[in-house]
């Protein structure tokens, strides 16, 4: 198993972001030369298939009920599998057309987050839409599955929230913390950002130490031939970043993600969560 090459995992569910997810994952797969896998999960709804309010149980009640439930759910799942299969095939076709050499498709039962945790070891980068099918109508907000996914997965996650445009200008939110250092070295080493322009952004009260921090970071990126602009912003971190994103027409934001501790996130209000709410551009979260 360990020999197997880690792949880019792209989560497709038929929502409006699925196409963009497909494009972004193809882009990454091409850039980093990794195999691409499309995943569709068949989530079993909590809503029961059978509801009979007679309240009477007769001969073999439990057995009959089991048969009835099995039959209805079998049909329901079969339809979902078929539907998912069509979407996956379409996505695969598109990815192959855009030049990805190894494309696989997979279908799994169960909620997205739990499937991803099981597949974690095989994942190199995960690409997901910001909201799934269930929240199709919502204008903003983060999908329920996404938050759990980000919390439980320790892999880079690209959250897609708009249709595809080749990421050329990227923004790296940097404050010298260990998560952001990791993000920095990832940007520096990944083939995905070879020809990109990187805006290295710090938000908060600036002093001497910040300047040296940014300079060091800038140097590190320039060593790997990336064009860097350093910027210092003031104000609420999430708002400042979101605003800068739009002003500078940034294609992609890279940042370190949620601290592991749920308690801390609960007490301090998770910055990543706020950022997911505010951002209008794709976000690459690094753990």
């Amino acid at each position: 198993m360990k020999e197997q090459k880690q792949y880019i995992l792209s989560c497709i569910d038929g929502s409006k972001y699925s196409e963009a997810v497909c494009d972004y994952s193809s882009w990454i797969a091409n850039k980093v030369d990794a195999p691409l896998t499309f995943l569709h999960t068949i989530e079993h709804t909590k809503v029961p298939a059978v509801a009979d309010l007679t309240g009477a149980i007769g001969l073999g009640a439990s057995e009959d009920l089991l048969n009835e439930l099995t039959e209805v759910e079998q049909n329901r799942s079969r339809l979902l599998i078929e539907k998912g299969n069509i979407m996956l095939k379409a996505a695969k076709k598109k990815a192959v057309e855009s030049g990805v050499s190894h494309v696989e498709i997979r279908q799994r039962h169960g909620a997205l987050a739990e499937s991803l945790v099981e597949l974690e070891d095989e994942i190199r980068v995960l690409v997901v839409g910001i909201r799934g099918e269930q929240h199709e109508g919502d204008e903003s907000g983060v999908g329920t599955q996404l938050e759990t996914t980000i919390r439980s997965l320790h892999k880079p996650i690209l959250v897609v929230n708009k249709s595809f445009s080749t990421p050329q200008k990227i923004m790296l939110a940097y404050n010298g913390s260990s998560a952001s250092r990791k993000a920095l070295s990832m940007v520096g080493t990944s083939p995905a950002f070879k020809d990109a322009i990187c805006h290295l952004v710090y938000v908060g009260d600036a002093d001497q130490s910040i300047d040296t921090l940014l300079d060091e970071a800038k140097k590190e990126l320039e060593n790997s031939d990336i064009e860097v602009t350093t910027v210092k912003l003031e104000g609420e971190i999430d708002e400042a970043l979101a605003k800068y994103q739009l002003e500078q027409d940034i294609d992609l934001t890279v940042m370190g993600a949620f601290s592991h501790s749920r308690v801390r996130g609960f007490l301090l209000g998770s910055f990543t969560e706020k950022m997911l709410e505010k951002t209008k551009r794709p976000l690459l979260l690094l753990r």
Binding site: H44, K46, V47, P48, V50, A51, D52, L53, T54, G55, A56, I57, G58, L59, G60, A61, S62, E63, L65, L66, L69, E73
Partner: protein, 499 residues
């Protein structure tokens, strides 16, 4: 975490849970009353218990969608305690039952359920159905019973099973409710002189209040209640875990069995402190809940709370329900609980399986204690299994005439049950100068096997032969407790290979 639950557990299936909860609440009322009568206490004891247990389990149970309340299995165990010592001792026993169940939960005894085979579960369910049915018989066979009672029970059953066939409304209104309402209305209008729920004892007229059982806190009290509590704890957990498995199967979702044990314990403590009797999960009601579309914790909560509200506010009306209507509902529950497929399967299943199932039923019906039945069933199943496995043994016997050497190559499983067969395989009458016992393809599972080998070696020596044992180390690798580290195929093949 005992209180951990997801949002989906509560509101994931709002409509289904609310409707199913209502259906179950209505079905729980007659059951709680009937089981109180079995136990020999006022109906309010069972009704308070059903309320407490259902509501507490809704929050801390390990199996969303399963219904727990006062049950027949538990009520049957309390009869003599109530008769000899009274209600207060029952409440104390209920508290102790809860404590024992919590301990069982922390010791992870829920996993012991794996020893309870399918046939024992079937036997348990069938025995339970028979007991519930038999508990209704006094209402039908008493001296003062008039033909009105028979007629009403028959009509009641007719309504329960035929009402669902009426188009549209048949599927919307629970038919047991229709049965109770129409029987009650008929009895009141005609003014029939038959027994009603009101005759059976006190109904709740207030919400339950906190009560510490009025028993002396002495060792003597403990020695009275402990045997009852232990039996209640075992039966309660058995029925709860079996029901949980049934609900798991029906809904195709997993559950946390150890959490369910702790939850049942806490629920029983709650019931004991609020004047209720011990209870557990109910197979029939849980099936009704799932059938009515209940899946989440909300269904259990609604069932418990609506039950109490209905009974407290309608107690004058509940008192008018004829016992005959109640009997009809309980007969339905017993029919619905019985596993009819097991009767059909009798002719296809192996005899040993059938014996296990039927013994479980017979022992329970005879003792009125489900714990004994399960104990006998599990024991029999284990014996049958040991017997089957002991057949997996054969000897290869080779004779080398030149050196006068007899080689016994043992294949298979040697343990307490097969050890005498193991000795019998050797031919001690044969006069040879050397005996080689090759055990590299055998497995010694316990000390009986080692002892049998020693005996064989000694016997051969006495006959004047030189004995050489080969491969004892490999053979006895399985003797250690917790033989189970061999999860890799090559390891398994090495240790157990060749059989």
């Amino acid at each position: 975490m005992l209180l951990k639950s997801t949002k989906a557990d509560w509101v994931g299936n709002l409509r289904g849970d609310i409707l199913a909860g209502l259906v179950v609440a209505l079905a729980l009322i007659p059951e709680a009353i009937a089981f109180s009568i079995i136990a020999g206490v006022d109906p309010k004891v069972g009704l308070y218990a059903s309320f407490c247990i259902a509501v507490i389990i809704a929050f801390i149970g390990g199996r969303p969608g399963m219904i727990s309340a006062a049950t027949g299995a538990m009520a049957l165990l309390m009869v003599t305690l109530v008769k000899n010592h009274g209600l207060e001792y029952l409440l104390a026993a209920t508290l102790l039952t809860g404590v024992l169940q919590i301990i069982a939960g922390y010791l992870k005894l829920g996993s012991l359920m794996s020893f309870v085979s399918r046939s024992v579960v079937t036997g348990f369910v069938n025995a339970l159905a028979i007991l519930i049915f038999m508990a209704q018989l006094p209402e039908l066979t008493g001296a003062s019973v008039t033909w009105h009672v028979y007629a009403m029970t028959a009509v009641g059953l007719g309504i329960i099973y035929l009402f669902p066939y009426i188009p549209v409304i048949g599927k919307m209104i629970p038919s047991p409710l229709v049965c109770i309402l129409s029987c009650t209305a008929f009895a009141m209008i005609v003014g029939l002189d038959i027994r009603t729920v009101g005759d059976m004892g006190e109904l709740p007229d207030t919400l339950p209040i906190f009560l510490w059982p009025d028993v002396p806190m002495t060792f003597e009290t403990l020695s009275i209640i402990f045997p009852y509590s232990a039996a209640l704890a075992v039966v309660g957990l058995l029925e709860s875990l079996m029901t949980a498995t049934i609900v798991d199967d029906l809904t195709d979702t997993p559950s946390d069995k150890n959490r369910e044990c702790k939850g049942q314990g806490i629920a029983n403590i709650g019931a004991g402190l609020l004047g209720g009797m011990a209870g557990c999960a109910m197979i029939g009601q849980s099936v009704i809940n799932v059938k009515s579309g209940g899946r989440g914790r909300l269904s259990t909560l609604i069932a418990g709370s609506v039950l109490l509200i209905l009974v407290v506010f309608l107690n004058d009306w509940v008192a008018q329900i004829p016992m005959a209507a109640l009997v009809a509902v309980m007969i339905m529950v017993s029919i619905g609980t019985f596993d009819w497929r097991s009767i059909r399967n009798l002719k296809d299943h192996p005899l040993s399986t059938n014996i296990v199932m039927i013994s479980t039923v017979v022992v329970v019906v005879y003792t009125h204690n489900l714990a004994y039945g399960v104990f006998v069933g599990v024991l029999l199943a284990a014996l049958f299994f040991a017997n089957k496995v002991s057949h997996f043994m054969y000897f290869e016997k080779l004779l080398d005439e030149d050196s006068s050497t007899r080689t016994y190559k043992v294949h298979g499983q040697v343990f307490f049950n097969s050890s005498s067969k193991f000795i019998e395989q050797f031919n001690f009458k044969e006069a040879v100068s050397k005996v080689i016992i090759d055990l590299s393809r055998a497995h010694f599972w316990d000390i009986s096997a080692v002892y049998a080998l020693d005996m064989a070696v000694v016997k051969f020596r006495r006959e004047g032969a030189e004995v050489q044992v080969i491969g004892l180390n490999e053979a006895s690798e399985t003797i250690v407790d917790r033989f189970g580290v061999h999860d890799k195929p090559e390891e398994l093949e090495r240790v157990l290979g060749g059989h």
